[in-house]
Protein backbone atom coordinates (compact mmCIF):
# COMPACT_ATOMS: atom_id res chain seq x y z
CA UNK A 1 0.00 0.00 0.00
CA UNK A 2 2.77 2.34 0.97
CA UNK A 3 4.63 1.36 -2.18
CA UNK A 4 1.74 2.42 -4.34
CA UNK A 5 1.08 5.47 -2.27
CA UNK A 6 4.63 6.70 -2.20
CA UNK A 7 6.03 5.57 -5.51
CA UNK A 8 3.01 6.00 -7.68
CA UNK A 9 1.50 9.12 -6.22
CA UNK A 10 4.96 10.48 -5.61
CA UNK A 11 5.75 9.98 -9.25
CA UNK A 12 2.58 11.65 -10.36
CA UNK A 13 3.46 14.52 -8.10
CA UNK A 14 6.94 14.70 -9.56
CA UNK A 15 5.34 14.65 -12.99
CA UNK A 16 3.22 17.64 -12.11
CA UNK A 17 6.18 19.52 -10.71
CA UNK A 18 8.28 18.76 -13.75
CA UNK A 19 5.51 19.96 -15.99
CA UNK A 20 5.79 23.38 -14.39
CA UNK A 21 9.48 23.70 -15.14
CA UNK A 22 10.84 25.08 -18.37
CA UNK A 23 13.77 24.25 -20.56
CA UNK A 24 16.51 26.69 -21.27
CA UNK A 25 16.25 27.65 -24.92
CA UNK A 26 20.00 27.71 -25.45
CA UNK A 27 21.37 24.79 -23.47
CA UNK A 28 18.26 22.63 -23.60
CA UNK A 29 18.66 21.74 -19.95
CA UNK A 30 15.79 21.75 -17.52
CA UNK A 31 15.44 25.00 -15.62
CA UNK A 32 13.67 24.69 -12.33
CA UNK A 33 11.61 27.81 -12.42
CA UNK A 34 7.94 27.32 -11.88
CA UNK A 35 5.66 28.61 -14.60
CA UNK A 36 2.53 27.62 -16.41
CA UNK A 37 4.10 28.14 -19.85
CA UNK A 38 3.92 24.48 -20.83
CA UNK A 39 0.22 24.37 -20.13
CA UNK A 40 -0.30 27.65 -21.96
CA UNK A 41 1.41 26.07 -24.94
CA UNK A 42 -0.87 23.07 -24.72
CA UNK A 43 -4.00 25.15 -24.85
CA UNK A 44 -2.92 27.64 -27.48
CA UNK A 45 -0.99 25.41 -29.87
CA UNK A 46 -3.33 24.18 -32.64
CA UNK A 47 -1.10 21.16 -33.36
CA UNK A 48 -1.56 19.85 -29.84
CA UNK A 49 -5.28 20.30 -30.15
CA UNK A 50 -5.35 18.36 -33.41
CA UNK A 51 -3.23 15.60 -31.91
CA UNK A 52 -5.49 15.36 -28.85
CA UNK A 53 -8.61 15.17 -30.97
CA UNK A 54 -7.04 12.57 -33.27
CA UNK A 55 -6.03 10.47 -30.27
CA UNK A 56 -9.52 10.69 -28.82
CA UNK A 57 -11.07 9.67 -32.14
CA UNK A 58 -8.74 6.68 -32.43
CA UNK A 59 -9.55 5.58 -28.88
CA UNK A 60 -13.29 5.93 -29.49
CA UNK A 61 -13.11 4.04 -32.80
CA UNK A 62 -11.13 1.23 -31.19
CA UNK A 63 -13.59 0.98 -28.31
CA UNK A 64 -16.59 0.85 -30.63
CA UNK A 65 -15.01 -1.78 -32.91
CA UNK A 66 -14.09 -3.91 -29.93
CA UNK A 67 -17.58 -3.62 -28.51
CA UNK A 68 -19.14 -4.70 -31.80
CA UNK A 69 -16.78 -7.68 -32.07
CA UNK A 70 -16.89 -8.68 -28.42
CA UNK A 71 -20.67 -8.65 -27.90
CA UNK A 72 -21.62 -11.52 -30.26
CA UNK A 73 -18.51 -13.46 -29.34
CA UNK A 74 -19.11 -13.21 -25.61
CA UNK A 75 -22.81 -13.90 -26.05
CA UNK A 76 -22.15 -17.03 -28.07
CA UNK A 77 -19.60 -18.11 -25.50
CA UNK A 78 -21.80 -17.55 -22.46
CA UNK A 79 -25.24 -18.52 -23.71
CA UNK A 80 -25.05 -20.74 -26.81
CA UNK A 81 -21.85 -22.76 -26.70
CA UNK A 82 -21.65 -26.09 -24.92
CA UNK A 83 -19.46 -26.37 -21.82
CA UNK A 84 -16.63 -27.83 -23.87
CA UNK A 85 -16.78 -25.22 -26.63
CA UNK A 86 -16.97 -22.50 -24.00
CA UNK A 87 -13.74 -23.69 -22.45
CA UNK A 88 -12.02 -23.80 -25.82
CA UNK A 89 -13.27 -20.33 -26.74
CA UNK A 90 -12.13 -18.96 -23.39
CA UNK A 91 -8.64 -20.30 -23.97
CA UNK A 92 -8.70 -18.99 -27.53
CA UNK A 93 -9.58 -15.55 -26.24
CA UNK A 94 -7.04 -15.50 -23.43
CA UNK A 95 -4.11 -16.97 -25.34
CA UNK A 96 -3.40 -13.93 -27.55
CA UNK A 97 -3.54 -11.82 -24.40
CA UNK A 98 -0.47 -13.59 -23.08
CA UNK A 99 1.34 -13.48 -26.39
CA UNK A 100 3.58 -10.48 -26.53
CA UNK A 101 2.01 -7.16 -27.43
CA UNK A 102 4.96 -6.31 -29.65
CA UNK A 103 4.85 -9.59 -31.47
CA UNK A 104 1.22 -9.02 -32.32
CA UNK A 105 1.83 -5.49 -33.54
CA UNK A 106 4.74 -6.82 -35.55
CA UNK A 107 2.47 -9.46 -37.15
CA UNK A 108 0.24 -6.65 -38.38
CA UNK A 109 3.20 -4.71 -39.68
CA UNK A 110 3.99 -7.71 -41.85
CA UNK A 111 0.38 -7.82 -43.02
CA UNK A 112 -0.11 -4.11 -43.68
CA UNK A 113 3.24 -3.24 -45.20
CA UNK A 114 2.21 -1.15 -48.21
CA UNK A 115 4.89 -2.59 -50.51
CA UNK A 116 5.72 -6.11 -49.48
CA UNK A 117 2.94 -6.84 -46.96
CA UNK A 118 1.03 -10.10 -47.00
CA UNK A 119 -2.27 -8.31 -47.59
CA UNK A 120 -0.90 -6.48 -50.62
CA UNK A 121 0.37 -9.74 -52.09
CA UNK A 122 -2.78 -11.79 -51.53
CA UNK A 123 -5.62 -9.29 -51.80
CA UNK A 124 -3.90 -6.74 -54.01
CA UNK A 125 -4.56 -3.81 -51.71
CA UNK A 126 -3.50 -2.63 -48.31
CA UNK A 127 -4.44 0.33 -46.15
CA UNK A 128 -0.73 0.85 -45.66
CA UNK A 129 0.66 2.40 -42.50
CA UNK A 130 -1.56 5.12 -41.08
CA UNK A 131 -4.48 5.81 -38.82
CA UNK A 132 -6.63 3.03 -40.26
CA UNK A 133 -3.91 0.46 -39.62
CA UNK A 134 -3.37 1.84 -36.12
CA UNK A 135 -7.09 1.55 -35.31
CA UNK A 136 -7.27 -2.04 -36.61
CA UNK A 137 -4.20 -3.13 -34.69
CA UNK A 138 -5.26 -1.43 -31.47
CA UNK A 139 -8.69 -3.02 -31.77
CA UNK A 140 -6.99 -6.37 -32.29
CA UNK A 141 -4.72 -5.90 -29.30
CA UNK A 142 -7.37 -4.85 -26.82
CA UNK A 143 -10.24 -7.08 -27.93
CA UNK A 144 -9.82 -9.58 -25.06
CA UNK A 145 -9.97 -6.72 -22.55
CA UNK A 146 -13.43 -5.92 -23.85
CA UNK A 147 -14.61 -9.50 -24.37
CA UNK A 148 -13.65 -10.86 -20.95
CA UNK A 149 -15.66 -8.46 -18.76
CA UNK A 150 -18.63 -8.77 -21.11
CA UNK A 151 -18.42 -12.53 -20.91
CA UNK A 152 -18.23 -12.37 -17.12
CA UNK A 153 -21.26 -10.09 -17.10
CA UNK A 154 -23.25 -12.38 -19.39
CA UNK A 155 -22.41 -15.37 -17.23
CA UNK A 156 -24.02 -13.65 -14.27
CA UNK A 157 -27.11 -12.86 -16.31
CA UNK A 158 -29.69 -15.59 -15.58
CA UNK A 159 -30.87 -17.51 -18.64
CA UNK A 160 -34.41 -17.34 -17.33
CA UNK A 161 -34.48 -13.61 -18.03
CA UNK A 162 -33.92 -14.27 -21.72
CA UNK A 163 -36.57 -16.99 -21.71
CA UNK A 164 -38.98 -14.71 -19.92
CA UNK A 165 -38.40 -11.96 -22.43
CA UNK A 166 -39.02 -14.44 -25.25
CA UNK A 167 -42.16 -15.73 -23.58
CA UNK A 168 -43.45 -12.20 -23.33
CA UNK A 169 -43.18 -11.97 -27.10
CA UNK A 170 -39.94 -10.10 -27.57
CA UNK A 171 -37.79 -11.04 -30.55
CA UNK A 172 -34.06 -11.56 -30.38
CA UNK A 173 -33.31 -7.90 -31.14
CA UNK A 174 -35.81 -6.57 -28.66
CA UNK A 175 -34.55 -8.89 -25.92
CA UNK A 176 -31.04 -7.75 -26.63
CA UNK A 177 -31.81 -4.03 -26.54
CA UNK A 178 -34.21 -4.02 -23.62
CA UNK A 179 -32.97 -6.83 -21.40
CA UNK A 180 -29.38 -7.82 -22.09
CA UNK A 181 -27.84 -4.46 -22.86
CA UNK A 182 -29.06 -2.55 -19.79
CA UNK A 183 -27.93 -5.36 -17.48
CA UNK A 184 -24.57 -5.57 -19.22
CA UNK A 185 -23.87 -1.88 -18.92
CA UNK A 186 -21.36 -2.13 -16.04
CA UNK A 187 -19.41 -4.87 -17.83
CA UNK A 188 -19.36 -2.95 -21.08
CA UNK A 189 -18.17 0.18 -19.32
CA UNK A 190 -15.44 -1.78 -17.58
CA UNK A 191 -14.28 -3.16 -20.91
CA UNK A 192 -14.53 0.24 -22.53
CA UNK A 193 -12.34 1.81 -19.85
CA UNK A 194 -9.67 -0.72 -20.68
CA UNK A 195 -9.80 -0.34 -24.45
CA UNK A 196 -10.11 3.43 -24.24
CA UNK A 197 -7.32 4.01 -21.77
CA UNK A 198 -5.01 1.53 -23.44
CA UNK A 199 -5.58 3.20 -26.80
CA UNK A 200 -5.22 6.73 -25.57
CA UNK A 201 -1.72 6.24 -24.21
CA UNK A 202 -0.39 3.97 -26.89
CA UNK A 203 2.53 5.09 -28.96
CA UNK A 204 4.28 1.84 -29.79
CA UNK A 205 1.57 0.56 -32.12
CA UNK A 206 1.34 3.95 -33.76
CA UNK A 207 5.09 3.87 -34.29
CA UNK A 208 4.93 0.39 -35.75
CA UNK A 209 1.95 0.66 -38.09
CA UNK A 210 0.80 4.27 -37.78
CA UNK A 211 3.11 5.71 -40.42
CA UNK A 212 3.37 9.45 -39.93
CA UNK A 213 0.31 9.72 -37.71
CA UNK A 214 0.91 11.41 -34.36
CA UNK A 215 -0.95 10.71 -31.15
CA UNK A 216 -0.52 12.16 -27.67
CA UNK A 217 1.72 9.25 -26.77
CA UNK A 218 4.01 9.85 -29.73
CA UNK A 219 4.38 13.53 -28.99
CA UNK A 220 5.15 12.79 -25.32
CA UNK A 221 7.74 10.28 -26.44
CA UNK A 222 9.24 12.72 -28.93
CA UNK A 223 9.46 15.57 -26.39
CA UNK A 224 10.93 13.16 -23.90
CA UNK A 225 13.48 11.91 -26.39
CA UNK A 226 14.55 15.43 -27.29
CA UNK A 227 15.13 16.20 -23.64
CA UNK A 228 12.17 18.49 -23.19
CA UNK A 229 11.00 16.66 -20.10
CA UNK A 230 8.75 19.49 -18.83
CA UNK A 231 6.79 19.58 -22.09
CA UNK A 232 6.45 15.80 -22.05
CA UNK A 233 5.25 15.94 -18.45
CA UNK A 234 2.73 18.67 -19.19
CA UNK A 235 1.42 16.72 -22.16
CA UNK A 236 1.16 13.57 -20.04
CA UNK A 237 -1.34 15.45 -17.90
CA UNK A 238 -3.77 15.45 -20.82
CA UNK A 239 -4.45 11.69 -20.78
CA UNK A 240 -4.55 11.81 -16.98
CA UNK A 241 -7.17 14.51 -17.11
CA UNK A 242 -9.18 12.60 -19.73
CA UNK A 243 -9.05 9.38 -17.72
CA UNK A 244 -9.98 11.08 -14.46
CA UNK A 245 -13.02 12.62 -16.15
CA UNK A 246 -13.96 9.24 -17.65
CA UNK A 247 -13.43 7.38 -14.37
CA UNK A 248 -15.44 9.90 -12.37
CA UNK A 249 -18.27 9.73 -14.89
CA UNK A 250 -18.19 5.95 -14.84
CA UNK A 251 -17.83 5.60 -11.09
CA UNK A 252 -21.43 6.64 -10.62
CA UNK A 253 -22.57 3.57 -12.54
CA UNK A 254 -20.63 1.21 -10.30
CA UNK A 255 -18.56 -0.20 -13.16
CA UNK A 256 -15.32 0.36 -11.29
CA UNK A 257 -15.97 -2.73 -9.19
CA UNK A 258 -15.80 -4.73 -12.38
CA UNK A 259 -12.30 -3.72 -13.29
Amino acid sequence: MLWLGVIYLGSLGALLITSLYTTDDYTGSVVKTVSLDNFKDLVTNPTFRAVTIRTLMIAIAVTVIDLVLALPFAFFMAKVASRRTRRILAVALVLPLWASYLVKAYCWRVIFDPVSGVMKQTLGFSPGFGITAAVVVLAYLWLPYMALPIYAGLEKLPDSLLDASGDLGAGAGRTFWSVVLPLLKPSILAGAIFTFSLSIGDYITVQIVGGKAQTIGNVIYRDFGSGNLPAAAALACVPILIMVVVLLAVRRTGALDNL
Partner: protein, 271 residues
Protein backbone atom coordinates in the same frame (compact mmCIF):
# COMPACT_ATOMS: atom_id res chain seq x y z
CA UNK B 1 -33.39 -23.16 -26.46
CA UNK B 2 -32.38 -19.66 -25.54
CA UNK B 3 -31.38 -18.47 -28.97
CA UNK B 4 -33.17 -19.71 -32.01
CA UNK B 5 -32.53 -20.39 -35.70
CA UNK B 6 -31.05 -17.51 -37.67
CA UNK B 7 -29.75 -15.65 -34.62
CA UNK B 8 -27.84 -18.75 -33.63
CA UNK B 9 -26.22 -19.08 -37.05
CA UNK B 10 -25.34 -15.38 -37.09
CA UNK B 11 -23.74 -15.67 -33.67
CA UNK B 12 -21.76 -18.68 -34.80
CA UNK B 13 -20.49 -16.85 -37.86
CA UNK B 14 -19.57 -13.79 -35.84
CA UNK B 15 -17.68 -15.93 -33.35
CA UNK B 16 -15.80 -17.69 -36.13
CA UNK B 17 -14.92 -14.34 -37.69
CA UNK B 18 -13.57 -13.01 -34.39
CA UNK B 19 -11.51 -16.15 -33.92
CA UNK B 20 -10.08 -15.77 -37.42
CA UNK B 21 -9.30 -12.11 -36.68
CA UNK B 22 -7.45 -13.20 -33.54
CA UNK B 23 -5.42 -16.01 -35.03
CA UNK B 24 -4.72 -15.34 -38.70
CA UNK B 25 -1.97 -12.76 -37.97
CA UNK B 26 -0.23 -15.15 -35.57
CA UNK B 27 -0.45 -17.97 -38.10
CA UNK B 28 1.03 -15.80 -40.84
CA UNK B 29 4.12 -15.07 -38.75
CA UNK B 30 4.49 -18.74 -37.86
CA UNK B 31 4.44 -19.69 -41.56
CA UNK B 32 6.83 -16.87 -42.50
CA UNK B 33 9.38 -17.96 -39.91
CA UNK B 34 9.83 -21.15 -41.94
CA UNK B 35 10.06 -19.31 -45.23
CA UNK B 36 13.26 -19.61 -47.18
CA UNK B 37 12.88 -16.03 -48.39
CA UNK B 38 14.27 -13.05 -46.54
CA UNK B 39 11.28 -10.85 -47.41
CA UNK B 40 7.62 -11.36 -46.64
CA UNK B 41 7.00 -13.22 -49.92
CA UNK B 42 3.55 -14.76 -49.66
CA UNK B 43 3.01 -17.63 -50.05
CA UNK B 44 6.61 -18.48 -49.16
CA UNK B 45 8.55 -19.74 -52.20
CA UNK B 46 9.80 -22.70 -50.21
CA UNK B 47 10.22 -23.74 -46.61
CA UNK B 48 13.38 -24.17 -44.59
CA UNK B 49 14.71 -24.20 -41.06
CA UNK B 50 17.50 -21.85 -42.03
CA UNK B 51 16.30 -18.85 -39.96
CA UNK B 52 15.52 -20.97 -36.94
CA UNK B 53 19.04 -22.33 -36.98
CA UNK B 54 20.50 -18.83 -37.42
CA UNK B 55 18.31 -17.32 -34.69
CA UNK B 56 19.27 -19.93 -32.11
CA UNK B 57 22.92 -18.98 -32.48
CA UNK B 58 22.31 -15.28 -31.98
CA UNK B 59 23.23 -13.90 -28.57
CA UNK B 60 21.19 -10.67 -28.79
CA UNK B 61 17.74 -12.18 -28.26
CA UNK B 62 19.08 -14.69 -25.75
CA UNK B 63 20.62 -12.02 -23.52
CA UNK B 64 17.47 -9.94 -23.79
CA UNK B 65 15.41 -12.96 -22.79
CA UNK B 66 17.52 -13.53 -19.68
CA UNK B 67 17.17 -9.86 -18.72
CA UNK B 68 13.40 -10.04 -19.12
CA UNK B 69 13.13 -13.14 -16.95
CA UNK B 70 15.31 -11.60 -14.21
CA UNK B 71 13.34 -8.37 -14.09
CA UNK B 72 10.03 -10.25 -14.28
CA UNK B 73 10.89 -12.54 -11.38
CA UNK B 74 12.10 -9.73 -9.14
CA UNK B 75 9.09 -7.53 -9.89
CA UNK B 76 6.66 -10.42 -9.40
CA UNK B 77 8.18 -11.32 -6.04
CA UNK B 78 7.87 -7.76 -4.75
CA UNK B 79 4.36 -7.49 -6.16
CA UNK B 80 3.25 -10.74 -4.52
CA UNK B 81 4.38 -9.72 -1.05
CA UNK B 82 3.11 -6.14 -1.19
CA UNK B 83 -0.03 -6.93 -3.19
CA UNK B 84 -1.05 -9.67 -0.77
CA UNK B 85 -0.51 -7.46 2.28
CA UNK B 86 -2.41 -4.57 0.73
CA UNK B 87 -5.36 -6.70 -0.32
CA UNK B 88 -5.54 -8.27 3.13
CA UNK B 89 -5.56 -4.85 4.73
CA UNK B 90 -8.25 -3.49 2.44
CA UNK B 91 -10.47 -6.54 2.76
CA UNK B 92 -10.21 -7.34 6.45
CA UNK B 93 -9.89 -4.02 8.18
CA UNK B 94 -11.87 -0.88 7.90
CA UNK B 95 -9.69 2.17 8.00
CA UNK B 96 -9.78 5.79 7.07
CA UNK B 97 -9.64 6.29 3.33
CA UNK B 98 -10.36 2.70 2.36
CA UNK B 99 -12.51 3.68 -0.60
CA UNK B 100 -9.85 6.08 -1.78
CA UNK B 101 -7.38 3.21 -1.72
CA UNK B 102 -9.62 1.17 -4.02
CA UNK B 103 -9.70 4.00 -6.53
CA UNK B 104 -5.97 4.52 -6.13
CA UNK B 105 -5.35 0.89 -6.97
CA UNK B 106 -7.30 1.24 -10.19
CA UNK B 107 -5.24 4.23 -11.30
CA UNK B 108 -2.07 2.52 -12.53
CA UNK B 109 -4.11 0.28 -14.82
CA UNK B 110 -6.52 2.98 -15.90
CA UNK B 111 -3.80 5.47 -16.71
CA UNK B 112 -1.81 4.87 -19.88
CA UNK B 113 1.59 3.23 -19.56
CA UNK B 114 3.31 6.25 -21.02
CA UNK B 115 2.00 8.41 -18.18
CA UNK B 116 3.28 5.94 -15.62
CA UNK B 117 6.56 5.83 -17.50
CA UNK B 118 7.08 9.58 -17.70
CA UNK B 119 5.92 10.01 -14.10
CA UNK B 120 8.31 7.40 -12.75
CA UNK B 121 11.10 8.78 -14.88
CA UNK B 122 10.72 12.29 -13.55
CA UNK B 123 10.43 10.95 -10.00
CA UNK B 124 13.65 8.94 -10.30
CA UNK B 125 15.35 11.92 -11.90
CA UNK B 126 14.30 14.31 -9.16
CA UNK B 127 15.24 11.77 -6.52
CA UNK B 128 18.65 11.46 -8.08
CA UNK B 129 18.37 7.69 -8.58
CA UNK B 130 20.63 6.19 -11.26
CA UNK B 131 18.74 4.35 -13.96
CA UNK B 132 19.47 0.65 -14.07
CA UNK B 133 18.04 -2.69 -13.00
CA UNK B 134 16.80 -1.18 -9.75
CA UNK B 135 14.62 1.49 -11.35
CA UNK B 136 13.32 -1.01 -13.89
CA UNK B 137 12.29 -3.50 -11.22
CA UNK B 138 10.64 -0.82 -9.07
CA UNK B 139 8.69 0.43 -12.09
CA UNK B 140 7.57 -3.05 -13.08
CA UNK B 141 6.62 -3.93 -9.51
CA UNK B 142 4.38 -0.86 -9.39
CA UNK B 143 2.01 -2.12 -12.04
CA UNK B 144 2.45 -5.77 -11.06
CA UNK B 145 1.13 -5.03 -7.55
CA UNK B 146 -2.16 -4.00 -9.10
CA UNK B 147 -2.88 -7.35 -10.75
CA UNK B 148 -1.83 -9.33 -7.69
CA UNK B 149 -3.98 -7.10 -5.51
CA UNK B 150 -7.00 -7.47 -7.79
CA UNK B 151 -6.77 -11.25 -7.88
CA UNK B 152 -6.46 -11.64 -4.14
CA UNK B 153 -9.11 -9.08 -3.25
CA UNK B 154 -11.57 -10.88 -5.53
CA UNK B 155 -10.77 -14.15 -3.76
CA UNK B 156 -10.95 -12.71 -0.25
CA UNK B 157 -14.27 -11.13 -1.08
CA UNK B 158 -15.60 -14.55 -1.98
CA UNK B 159 -14.40 -16.14 1.25
CA UNK B 160 -16.68 -16.08 4.22
CA UNK B 161 -15.12 -13.79 6.86
CA UNK B 162 -16.18 -16.18 9.57
CA UNK B 163 -13.52 -18.75 8.69
CA UNK B 164 -11.05 -16.36 10.30
CA UNK B 165 -13.30 -16.00 13.32
CA UNK B 166 -13.80 -19.75 13.54
CA UNK B 167 -10.06 -20.22 13.47
CA UNK B 168 -9.62 -17.69 16.26
CA UNK B 169 -12.36 -19.30 18.30
CA UNK B 170 -10.54 -22.60 18.01
CA UNK B 171 -7.56 -20.99 19.65
CA UNK B 172 -5.36 -20.08 16.70
CA UNK B 173 -3.40 -16.86 16.89
CA UNK B 174 -3.22 -14.42 14.01
CA UNK B 175 -0.17 -16.05 12.50
CA UNK B 176 -1.62 -19.56 12.71
CA UNK B 177 -4.86 -18.39 11.15
CA UNK B 178 -2.94 -16.91 8.28
CA UNK B 179 -0.67 -19.92 7.90
CA UNK B 180 -3.33 -22.65 8.06
CA UNK B 181 -6.56 -20.98 7.00
CA UNK B 182 -6.21 -17.84 4.92
CA UNK B 183 -3.07 -18.73 2.99
CA UNK B 184 -4.26 -22.12 1.65
CA UNK B 185 -7.52 -20.50 0.59
CA UNK B 186 -5.88 -17.70 -1.38
CA UNK B 187 -2.96 -19.73 -2.67
CA UNK B 188 -4.34 -20.28 -6.15
CA UNK B 189 -5.29 -16.60 -6.44
CA UNK B 190 -1.75 -15.78 -5.44
CA UNK B 191 -0.35 -18.03 -8.13
CA UNK B 192 -2.74 -16.67 -10.77
CA UNK B 193 -1.86 -13.11 -9.80
CA UNK B 194 1.83 -13.92 -9.86
CA UNK B 195 1.56 -15.48 -13.31
CA UNK B 196 -0.30 -12.51 -14.65
CA UNK B 197 2.18 -10.12 -13.07
CA UNK B 198 5.12 -11.97 -14.55
CA UNK B 199 3.51 -12.05 -17.98
CA UNK B 200 2.77 -8.32 -17.81
CA UNK B 201 6.32 -7.54 -16.83
CA UNK B 202 7.74 -9.87 -19.47
CA UNK B 203 5.73 -8.12 -22.14
CA UNK B 204 6.13 -4.53 -20.97
CA UNK B 205 7.90 -2.04 -23.19
CA UNK B 206 6.47 1.43 -22.55
CA UNK B 207 7.33 1.84 -18.88
CA UNK B 208 10.53 -0.09 -19.58
CA UNK B 209 11.68 2.45 -22.16
CA UNK B 210 11.36 5.25 -19.61
CA UNK B 211 12.88 3.52 -16.60
CA UNK B 212 15.59 1.15 -17.81
CA UNK B 213 19.15 2.31 -17.65
CA UNK B 214 21.39 2.43 -20.69
CA UNK B 215 22.70 -0.96 -21.75
CA UNK B 216 19.72 -2.87 -20.41
CA UNK B 217 17.65 -4.48 -23.11
CA UNK B 218 14.60 -6.61 -22.39
CA UNK B 219 13.17 -8.99 -24.96
CA UNK B 220 10.36 -6.64 -26.06
CA UNK B 221 12.93 -3.89 -26.48
CA UNK B 222 15.07 -6.19 -28.59
CA UNK B 223 12.12 -7.04 -30.83
CA UNK B 224 11.21 -3.38 -31.16
CA UNK B 225 14.76 -2.32 -31.95
CA UNK B 226 15.18 -4.98 -34.62
CA UNK B 227 11.76 -4.76 -36.22
CA UNK B 228 12.78 -1.87 -38.44
CA UNK B 229 15.98 -3.48 -39.70
CA UNK B 230 15.20 -5.45 -42.85
CA UNK B 231 18.23 -7.69 -42.34
CA UNK B 232 17.05 -8.80 -38.94
CA UNK B 233 13.47 -9.61 -39.95
CA UNK B 234 13.90 -13.38 -40.35
CA UNK B 235 15.32 -13.55 -36.82
CA UNK B 236 12.53 -11.35 -35.49
CA UNK B 237 10.04 -13.76 -37.07
CA UNK B 238 11.55 -16.70 -35.25
CA UNK B 239 11.75 -14.85 -31.92
CA UNK B 240 8.11 -13.79 -32.38
CA UNK B 241 7.00 -17.38 -32.89
CA UNK B 242 8.97 -18.54 -29.86
CA UNK B 243 7.35 -15.83 -27.73
CA UNK B 244 3.91 -16.86 -28.97
CA UNK B 245 4.67 -20.48 -28.09
CA UNK B 246 5.89 -19.45 -24.64
CA UNK B 247 2.57 -17.77 -23.96
CA UNK B 248 0.88 -21.16 -24.02
CA UNK B 249 2.61 -22.12 -20.76
CA UNK B 250 0.90 -19.60 -18.45
CA UNK B 251 -2.47 -20.22 -20.08
CA UNK B 252 -2.06 -23.94 -19.50
CA UNK B 253 -1.02 -23.38 -15.90
CA UNK B 254 -3.90 -21.00 -15.28
CA UNK B 255 -6.30 -23.56 -16.69
CA UNK B 256 -4.96 -26.26 -14.41
CA UNK B 257 -5.15 -23.97 -11.42
CA UNK B 258 -8.72 -22.87 -11.65
CA UNK B 259 -12.01 -24.22 -12.75
CA UNK B 260 -12.77 -20.81 -14.14
CA UNK B 261 -12.42 -21.14 -17.92
CA UNK B 262 -10.80 -17.74 -18.28
CA UNK B 263 -8.14 -18.74 -15.81
CA UNK B 264 -8.91 -16.10 -13.22
CA UNK B 265 -8.73 -13.18 -15.59
CA UNK B 266 -12.34 -12.37 -14.85
CA UNK B 267 -11.68 -12.38 -11.18
CA UNK B 268 -14.71 -10.19 -10.62
CA UNK B 269 -17.19 -13.02 -11.18
CA UNK B 270 -19.24 -12.25 -8.17
CA UNK B 271 -17.80 -8.86 -7.38
Amino acid sequence: MLVSGPARVALKLATAAVLAFLYVPLAIIAVLSFSSSKTFAWPPPSYSLEWWRAAIHETGPRDAFVTSVKVGLAATLIALVLGALASYAVQRFKFFGRDTVSLLIVLPIALPGIVTGVALNSAFRQGGVTFGYFTLVVAHATFCIVVVFNNIVARLRRLAPNVDEASADLGADLFQTFRYVTFPLVRSALVAGGLLAFALSFDEIVVTTFTAGPGIETLPQWIFNNMFRPNQLPTVNVVAVIVIMLSIIPVYLAQRLSADPTGGLTADEDG
